[in-house]
Structure formats: structure tokens, C-alpha cells
Amino acid sequence: MTAQTQKYTFHVHGMHCNACILMTESELADMPNITHVKSSLKNNSVEVIGDFGNKTPKQIAEELTIPLKSHGYTVSVEKQIKEKKWSDFKIAVPIALGFAVLFVVLQKIGIVSWVGGGNVTYGTAFVIGIIASLSTCMAVVGGLLLSMSATFAKEPIRSLDGHQGQRGEKIKPQLMFHGGRIVAFFILGGVIGALGAVFTLSTSATFTLSLIIGIVMLILGINLLDVFPWAKKLQPSMPKFIAKHAHGVSKLSHTRPNGRGFSVGRALTPLLVGIATFFLPCGFTQSMQLYTLTTGSFLKGGFTMLAFALGTLPVLALISVSSFSIKKSSKAGVFFKSAGLIVILFALFNLINSFVVIGLLPPIFNF
């Protein structure tokens, strides 16, 4: 049998990001009998040119799988038909709608008016935090957290040696988010208290920020639904700080031989997002900051914002816990689809409101 070079196309399962292209290509190019390799994320395929003797395509696919298996990819002849599980929506849609109704009801009964006047103690700051987390701030901060943690929960954690991530790896990003948030609120609150000035963003800066957040949430939400493959391609074009986590910082992890890249990226992004929530357009946060500047002291200001952040913690932690306690079970699909729908609703709510604020739309929501 003479050696002959032939072109084959195989399907690759498990490719979800741009870095996967580099990853599969570099691994396969190292194989001795391959002269050319080209992966495509678009149709999850890999094209190889090489000499495999008289092996059947199926045998070749198995051979190619060997070096990729540890990274979580499988090569096969047949295209894997992705189960879209539309039936999950039968449960997910009512859950999301129920959530939306609960959200509207909470606003309608006027929980925001439960705060009395008079002096603001750390206790009131705490209660204001709780109310904020049940109120429209949930649409911004909670929505962002839900989209982030559900995306994290969904992405399989793979370290380079192929071991599935430990449970701790799933909890870590959540801890970084909440930790970053609480520490940032204390420090930045202290700075405001000491300086007596607020870092206020201009209307156009706030608008730009809400627009970016709204769009990022929309994309993450659509991806969580897992029924629109085209949305995957949108993910790389997102702002770097979100995109980084959405891909599980594949690039970092793929280039670090010790597999620690994941921990760095998975921790850093939530940390930064947590800190950034201090500046998010949320009415309660802003008016707490305004109050804080009247305290005139670092410690007083810091503790006021800390108490506020702690008040928001129970509801936000609930979002985190529900995300990482979801396992690969039959319910996982329903969870991600419900989360996706809720995130999309919040994203639309935020987007519409930001257009109202700059006057492009007349007020639509009326709580």
C-alpha cells in the first residue's frame, strides 16, 4: 500500500469558542501523519489533510480524538445533532413569567416606600440594601449576576490535564463577585465619605454603560437558551471583561501548561464585575452614595456602603447558589432556559429604560 495523502472532514464536538480553533489545530498539527489542519467554529468541523494508510474515516476519527479527548473534544464522522430540547420551555416559560410577575408585584406594592425618613443608621442602610435587591436594582445587578453565574455554571470547567473541575472551581467566581462587591463598597464608600464628593457619571456615560450592560445581558441570555447557535458567534465581540469569562478564558488556560489559567480568569472577571456594580445605574446605590458623602468620614462612609452591600447580599447570594448548585441533571436545561428568559426580560427592561432616560422613548414602564 503506497502512502497517499487525502483530505478528510470531521465533526468536532465540544468546540465553543475561538480559542478552541487554535487548541484543536495545534494538537492535531502535532500528529505525525497530518500535513494540514483547519478547524472551523462555524460548523464545528475540522479539515485534515494527511496520510492515514487505509484506515476508515471512523478509525481516523477515533485516532484524532485521542489527543483532543483530554481537552474535552471528540472527533466523529457524523454530525452531532444538537438536542435543542424545546420541551424545556414548557416549564421554563412559566417560571420566567412567574418571576416577571413577582418582580412587577414587588414594585407595585411599593416596597421602596418602606424606608422611613429621619436618620440613616447602619441598620437602615442594610434594609435599604434589601429593598434595593428586591427592587429595580435587581434588574441591573441581579440580571448581570444571573447571566454571569449561569454562563459560568454552564461552561464545563476543564483543566488542561482533562480533569473535570472541582466543585470549588464553580463556587470561586461567585465568591470573587460578592467579595469584590462588598470590599469595593466599603473602600469606595469610605473614599466618598472622606472626600465628600461622589463619582457621578454623566447622563451620556450612564446611558452608554446601561446600553453595554443591556446588550451583553441580551447576548448571554440568548446563549443560555441554547437554541440559537448563531448567538454564539456574537459572544467574542463582547466587551473584553465579559467575553473573557464567557469563554472561560480559554486562551489563558490553553496557553498555560499548568492549567491554572482558568482560575485566574474565572476569578478576575467576576471580581471586576463585582467592583463595577458600585457604578451601575441603580437608583438605590446612587442615593446611598449621595447620603454617604454627607457623613464626612472614611469609616462612617465605608460602613454605610458596607451595610448597604450586605443588605443586597441575601438575594444576590441566592442567585449565585441556585446557579452553582445546578448540576448536570434533567433540571439543568430548564434552569438555564429559565435563567436565559429572565436575563432577556431584564435586559430588555434595562435597554428600554435607558432609552427613556435619554428621551428617545416615552416612559413605558410605570411602577
Binding site: Q107, G110, I111, V112, S113, W114, V115, G116, G117, G118, V120, G123, T124, F126, V127, I128, I130, I131, A132, L134, S135, T136, V140, T200, T203, T206, P281, C282, G283, F284, Q286, S287, M288, L290, Y291, G311, P314, V315, A317, L318, V321, S322, S325, F349, I352, N353, S354, F355, V356, V357, I358, G359, P362, P363, F365, N366, F367
Partner: protein, 129 residues
């Protein structure tokens, strides 16, 4: 699902507990006067209460006279403490308690629309001839 259940109970307890502790400072009931528009020294003053939204949500005023929007707050920490009137490019943060005047010049015939800084609490003033 166990951690989820524990955290549900825990957060429920914290939220319920803190409301119970602070229940003394319950919702202040304030009657919104029928007529919130008055003319003092040739200036039209439109009073609006800001807390958990704006009340009255819709005011009727006269067009063509110097007009001031007066926002009253009392323990207002929500979005309504940040007033936004896009057509006049007004963005104003109100103090937690007190009253704040926003001079909007001569009332122009038609409806002036405003909202809170996040856009979900609207209010409007209709200027009639």
C-alpha cells in the same frame, strides 16, 4: 439542591427579620393634596412628591408663566431621588429628605415628560393655555 434550600431559608429569615425589626418605621401615609399647582409671586409652583415614584403622576399647569418644579422627598432612597427631564436636559439628584426646586422657565404648551434616573418612574406635566 440542599445548599439552595438552606440559602433560601436563610435569606428569607434575614429579609423577614430585618423588616420585622424595622417595622416601626413603616410607610408614612401622606395625603397628596388635590391641587399641587399654586401661583406665588407670579411664579407657578408645581409640587411633586418623590418616593417610590412621583405623585401626582400627572399635573396640569398653565403655560406661559415662569414655572418651578418643586420635588419633596422624605426618606427617599430609590430611583425617584434622581430626577430626569430629557427634553430640558435636566438631571438632578434630590436630597434624601427636603425639597428641591427645579426652574424650568416658561411652561411651554404641551406635555412635559420626566422620569427617574433609571427610567421606570414617569411623571408628566401638562401645560394648558
Amino acid at each position: 439542591m440542599k445548599p439552595l434550600l438552606i440559602s433560601l431559608v436563610l435569606s428569607g429569615a434575614i429579609i423577614g427579620g430585618s423588616f420585622w425589626v424595622t417595622s416601626g418605621s413603616s410607610r408614612p401615609s401622606r395625603a397628596i393634596p388635590e391641587n399641587n399647582v399654586s401661583i406665588v409671586d407670579g411664579k407657578q409652583i408645581i409640587e411633586i412628591w418623590a418616593k417610590g415614584g412621583y405623585q401626582p403622576r400627572k399635573s396640569t399647569a398653565k403655560a406661559g408663566i415662569p414655572t418651578i418644579l418643586r420635588f419633596n422627598t422624605n426618606g427617599t432612597f430609590d430611583c425617584s431621588s434622581s430626577v430626569r427631564i430629557p427634553s430640558m436636559n435636566v438631571s438632578k439628584s434630590l436630597p434624601q429628605s427636603g425639597s428641591t426646586d427645579i426652574d424650568i422657565g416658561l411652561g411651554i404648551l404641551g406635555t412635559l415628560q420626566g422620569s427617574c434616573g433609571m427610567g421606570m418612574y414617569p411623571f408628566e406635566v401638562e401645560f394648558q393655555s
